[in-house]
């Protein structure tokens, strides 16, 4: 043991000094290992620091209070909650029915002797320097000691009077306001002065203002109601302080009154899962951490780390091999002085150890410095303040250990190779062609066959991605292990090549020990890139095919859902001013109830309407069954399939579109048909005659009319629905015209003129406009429009139909660039190694009269040969698993499709389209440009004149 230690010390000393002497090479390898370590350590530090302890979390959410009482809005029925209070359900099972609704009396739950601070939130469209801004309005006495920790005052002071507010720094930045400005809200004439700025440590990006309790939300709601709009909603929770806090038992007692409790005591010391009744309810469970999920995550992380280490090891390996080769004489001397093979191995391995330890140190220290220095930026980026700066020595040590292991891993093969040389060969510089190991390629072949079989099984027999991915990974490792043998196959091509490339290829093939790792590194990187690129390109093709345009190409829609279309004129004007519009088709929508109601009702005084499907036209699969139940159960899968694909009553009429109104019913004129590209003379005539034009045959009854049912009592309607009965309401029948030939109507189901609507007794409100354009609006025009619309507080919804835009091309490009860099790096390292080896050949060449440029050409070709072998093998190894994955996906999608048809679920009846697309551009770049670039680069940086030949030691 002691002997071992002393001889290793000597080895490490030699390795350390050697690393220092070859600064360039050492720095390169150090950077290769240290960079990922830096990244991972910095991530660990950031993650751990941003991960708050339960105590820190509590401070930020309930301040100094003992608990927050929240209104579950279930009318005060007893409920069950999670210990954290983030999830809850009624204690009594409600079956399939809806949960009870209604406010809860929080006061009743407050124990005697407790102090309460109210915390209310609502939202409003606030006036800013630029226009309107949708923001959160909070009413919390922020200066109260109980609230300490929830808000951090940055500037100014807390509001002290009812007409004062403070605002988050993000709100001030976004709105252009400052401390001292006044702010108000739309439909509200009361001004508030901003007296301070603050931030929420957990939500730095929150747009919020804070007023005194009762100072903003209540008067604002009153003002809005007065202007005829539904009152905005707000909610209030209680920050409660009580001696002794709230234990899990107390929390459960309070739950019985319909109140959810977020208790500090419970969060800091949570009860066992067995003591949480909610988890025992059907369908509930503590899904936070299951052992299987943990294991899967761990396995995935382990695989990624392992593959990354392998890749770095493969890249850095040749550098150690260069080092070992350059110091061959030195290793020979050690051998002559009694160094055994183990000593030689120790010296080369120590090289890896030294660089690994240095990389670990550099990476960890830099990560610490960078994370500390960049803390404010990281916090902004993550949108929350860190807790304490959390350094976990064990985790950092573990990450650092990976660096050391990577260094050692990279040096293993060179160490074994160096130790196998005889002392005499090392001393005399005699070069023998070393046979590469036959075991490794055989193991590789085994892995390739095994992995290939698994992946093949996965792609042909099953539809499990994991099987294909796992099999591919095993096969890929197999190919990496087989690289030496595969490199040998390339040697046969040499016969037909001219001198320089022939020499380069022969040299690479004869010295597989140094060529193989570099080729393997290129192979692994390229295979990954090609796999992802192929998969991505195929996905893109699929998305392109599946893309559903919401409007004809180049058309624009601008609609307003809020406040009865109050902003419609302003929006129309903004669109016309900023975009190159041609035809403008104004549309309105049918409104039931108060003026400010949104579509589909909601809120008191708001109703909705339905387009009636006559009983005879109902799809038999979807007929309402009294008492609830599924009509489709009566049919066999084959019948369902037939109904869905062949019966006109079951036909879906929803070819894309984004109509935000009930039934896709719009009120407008023939211009809309023009914008949507629907050419039907009969339809225009029908509109003029006061008919309703529809694209959906089942809507028209025997008398040729289409019924619109106004539902004013939504509560009664919901109850009827539950029972499978039609909703009560008054039906207005309107003569209808059916557009034949199934044109794409982009979600529009029915259209009538305002006059027709009025005649039928329907109220309408402005909805927006549809525009056709002269040419596609460009990015600048759209940004200008977005900026103008933002001043309206985000009430308008604008869509410009630009067709399918693929988003993955940037990812594919950066992947190709990454693989290119790895390729060039690995090829350059291998070339450096070949150069170190080929000195004698070059001297011989020079001696027989080769011009100096042969040296350049040779090194260029050496680099090119490595890069080419890597990318050719890598491309082949990458395309196949991607194709396997796609085949699996195709099988899965077809199965889903068949199942959906058999079950009678309405679905697009066209079979799924899952193409396999080879990314030729990426492949071309990798196969042609990268090796060419690597070769040129190597040729450029090689000196054409070598050192003066000197007789080698004999």
């Amino acid at each position: 043991m002691k002997t071992w230690f002393h001889s290793w010390r000597a080895a490490i000393r030699i390795a350390r000094r050697d690393a220092w002497r070859a600064k360039g090479r050492s720095a390169l390898v150090l950077a290769m290992i240290a960079l990922p370590i830096l990244g991972v350590s910095a991530f660990d530090l950031t993650y751990r620091s941003s991960e708050l302890s339960p105590a820190e979390q509590m401070d930020r959410s309930i301040g100094a209070a003992d608990a927050r009482f929240l209104d579950a809005r279930m009318g005060g029925v007893p409920l069950l909650q999670t210990p954290e209070g983030d999830n809850y359900a009624p204690a009594k099972d409600t079956g399939d029915g809806a949960w009870p609704t209604g406010p809860t009396d929080l006061d009743r739950a407050v124990p005697r002797g407790a102090s309460v601070l109210t915390d209310s939130t609502g939202s409003a469209r606030l006036t800013t320097r630029h226009g309107l801004l949708q923001a959160e309005v909070r009413e919390l006495q922020a200066g109260d000691p109980v609230a300490r920790g929830i808000m951090t005052l940055l500037d100014g002071r807390h509001p002290g009077k009812p007409d004062e507010v403070m605002a988050t720094s993000h709100f001030l930045k976004t709105s252009g306001l400052t401390v001292g400005s006044t702010v108000s809200a739309r439909n509200f004439d009361r001004p508030y002065r901003i007296v301070g700025s603050y931030e929420l440590p957990d939500e730095l990006e929150s747009l919020q203002i804070n007023a005194l309790p009762g100072a903003f939300l209540a008067p604002y709601a009153k003002a809005v109601e007065k202007s005829g709009l539904p009152a905005p909603e707000s909610s209030t929770s209680y920050l409660v302080r009580h001696r002794g806090g709230f234990t899990w038992n107390t929390v459960q007692q309070i739950n019985a009154m319909g109140v959810v409790v977020m208790s500090r005591a419970v969060v800091l010391d949570p009860p066992a899962d067995s003591e949480v009744p909610l988890y025992k309810k059907e369908g509930w469970g503590n899904y936070g951490t299951s052992a299987a999920a943990n294991a899967a995550e761990l396995a995935a992380a382990g695989t990624v780390v392992g593959l990354a280490m392998l890749e770095i090891g493969l890249l850095a390996g040749p550098a150690f091999a260069v080092g070992a080769r350059r110091s061959r004489r030195q290793l020979g001397l050690v051998g002559a002085n009694g160094g055994a093979r183990s000593h030689i191995r120790a010296i080369v391995l120590s090289g890896g150890l030294v660089i690994g330890v240095a990389a670990a140190l550099v990476g960890t220290v830099l990560a610490l410095i960078l994370t500390l220095a960049l803390e404010p930026y990281l916090e902004e980026l993550m949108g929350q303040r860190f807790g304490a700066f959390d350094i976990r020595p064990l985790e950092l040590l573990g990450i650092a250990l990976i660096a050391v292991l990577t260094g050692l891993l990279a040096a293993v093969v060179p160490a074994v190779t160096a130790s196998r040389q005889t002392v005499l060969a090392s001393l005399t510089g005699r070069r023998g062609v070393r046979r590469s190991s036959r075991v490794l390629p055989l193991v590789g072949l085994g892995a390739l066959l095994l992995g290939g079989t698994i992946a093949l099984y996965g792609s042909v027999m099953s539809d499990e991605f994991m099987i294909v991915a796992g099999g591919s990974a095993i096969a890929e490792l197999g190919v990496v292990a087989m690289t030496p043998a595969l490199v040998g196959l390339f040697g046969r091509l040499g016969r037909w090549l001219p001198l320089a490339p022939r020499l380069a290829l022969r040299d690479a093939v004869r010295n597989r020990g140094r060529t193989a790792p570099a080729v393997a590194a290129v192979l692994a990187a390229v295979a990954g890139t090609v796999a992802v690129s192929t998969y991505g390109a195929s996905r893109d093709a699929q998305s392109r095919a599946e893309y559903e345009a919401m409007l004809p190409h180049g058309a624009v829609s601008a609609v307003v859902l809020e406040e009865g279309g109050r902003d419609v004129p302003a929006v129309r004007e903004a669109v016309e001013r900023n975009l190159p519009v041609d035809v403008r088709a104004d549309v309105e929508r049918v409104q039931v109830g108060k003026l400010g109601c949104p579509p589909w009702g909601g809120g008191p005084g708001c109703g909705r309407y339905e387009l009636v499907v006559p009983k005879a036209n109902e799809c038999p699969l979807y007929v309402r069954v009294p008492g609830g139940g599924d009509a489709s159960e009566k049919y066999a899968p084959e019948q369902r399939r037939k109904l869905l694909t062949e019966d006109w009553r079951c036909e879906q009429n929803g070819n894309g579109g984004n109509m935000h109104v009930e039934g896709g019913l719009l009120v407008g004129d023939a211009k809309l048909l023009k914008v949507l590209g629907i050419d039907d003379a009969g339809a225009e005539k029908a509109l003029a005659e006061g008919k309703i034009v529809t694209f959906h045959r089942p809507l028209i009854d025997r008398n040729g009319t289409l019924g619109i049912k106004r539902v004013t009592d939504t509560v009664a309607a919901d109850k009827a629905m539950e029972k499978g009965l039609p909703a009560p309401g008054e039906v207005s029948p309107i003569p209808a015209y059916l557009v034949r030939g199934e044109p794409t109507s982009y979600g529009l189901q029915a259209l009538m003129t305002p006059a027709t609507a009025k005649a039928a007794g329907l109220t309408t409100v402005p909805y927006g406009s549809y525009f056709s354009t002269d040419r596609m609006p460009d990015e600048e025009q759209r940004q200008k429009l977005d900026a103008e619309l933002a001043k309206l507080g985000g009430s308008a919804e604008v869509h410009v139909e630009t067709g399918f835009t693929d988003e993955s091309s940037i990812v594919l490009l950066s992947l190709a660039v990454f693989a290119g860099l790895v390729t060039i790096g690995a090829a350059a390292i291998a070339t450096g190694l070949a150069q170190a080896d080929a000195e004698a050949d070059l001297k011989t060449l020079a001696a027989v009269g080769a011009p100096p440029r042969v040296r350049r050409t040779l090194s260029g070709f050496q680099c090119g040969v490595v890069a080419t072998m890597g990318v050719v093998l890598g491309s082949a190894a990458g395309v196949l698993p991607a194709m396997g994955l796609r085949l699996t996906e195709e099988r899965q999608e077809i199965r889903f499709h068949e199942e959906a048809l058999a079950e009678g679920w309405s679905l697009d009846v066209t079979p799924p389209y899952v193409p396999i697309v080879i990314p030729w551009e990426t492949l071309a770049v990798l196969l042609v440009a990268v090796p060419l670039g690597a070769a040129l680069l190597a040729a450029l940086v090689t000196r054409s004149r070598g050192a003066v030949a000197r007789r080698a030691v004999t």
């Binding site: 001889s7 000597a10 030195q330 001397l333 002085n337 000593h343 005499l424």
Partner: protein, 252 residues
């Protein structure tokens, strides 16, 4: 010639490189014994087998047949590990040039065989310093090889070859890369070490340097063609170079 047990014994040594058409007989039945205190010079034209003889004597290469006995151990039957240990404990090598490991100082170079043998770094350094002092090289202890002259490097190499209990120095053209004056000083040191009890084998093709030896062995085509003892060698070499008198250590 000493009556003591020889440090190195070569018995009927044969070394054949390659086989068939490429067969080369590098050594053809060499018999040689080197005793403590004796310096033997091996001379001969290029390709006569001088270097092969030396590499086989040190266990860096194996004979096709015959025996090599170093300090009573037959190294032809020893394993790789035993051979390495033997080089650490019994045999020292000095080559033509680049003898020292560039990453180590003079003292560390000398200490290397001891450290590889598992001796603690401190103890190895003490021994190395002692060895260097003994050869009046103490002032070079902390210099790196590239901070020393060629002659200094070769003398440090001799110190390393003899550190510990090693008694056999195998020197392959140790003066080949040096000017003649420096070469003389290196050989003087080697001579003095042999006078102090070590056994040395010196391969050289310069008769001038061979004159430092007790005995000169002439090789041609792998066989010993002639042997001269010191006095004969003296007269043999007269006129080709004035050999200094024994024991005189000339420092450059």
């Amino acid at each position: 010639m000493s009556t003591q047990q020889p440090v190195l014994q070569l018995q009927n040594l044969v070394r054949v490189h390659g086989s068939g058409a490429t067969e080369v007989h590098a050594l053809r039945g060499i018999d040689l014994a080197v005793h403590p205190g004796e310096l033997v010079a091996v001379m001969g034209p290029s390709g006569s087998g001088k270097s092969t003889l030396l590499t086989i004597a040190g266990g860096l290469d194996m004979p096709t047949s015959g025996r090599v006995i170093v300090e009573n151990t037959d190294i032809t039957t020893a394993g790789l590990k035993e051979l390495a240990a033997l080089r650490r404990r019994s045999i020292g090598y000095v080559f033509q040039d680049y003898n020292l490991i560039p990453a180590l100082t003079a003292a560390e170079n000398v200490a290397l065989p001891r450290e590889l043998d598992g001796v603690s770094a401190r103890k190895a350094r003490v021994e190395a310093l002692a060895a260097l002092e003994e050869m009046s090289l103490g002032h070079l202890a902390d210099r790196f090889p590239d901070e020393m002259s060629g002659g200094q490097q070769q003398r440090v190499a001799i110190a390393r070859a003899l550190v510990g209990d090693r008694r056999l120095v195998l020197a392959d053209e140790p003066t080949g890369a040096l000017d003649s004056e420096t070469g003389e000083s290196v050989l003087a040191l080697l001579r003095s070490r042999c006078d102090a009890g070590a056994a040395g084998v010196l391969v050289t093709h310069e008769p001038r340097f061979a004159a430092w030896a007790d005995r000169v062995v002439f090789l041609r085509d792998g066989a010993i063609v002639d042997q001269t003892v010191r006095s004969e060698a003296d007269s043999l070499l007269t006129g080709q170079g004035q050999g200094p008198s024994w024991g005189q250590v000339a420092e450059r």
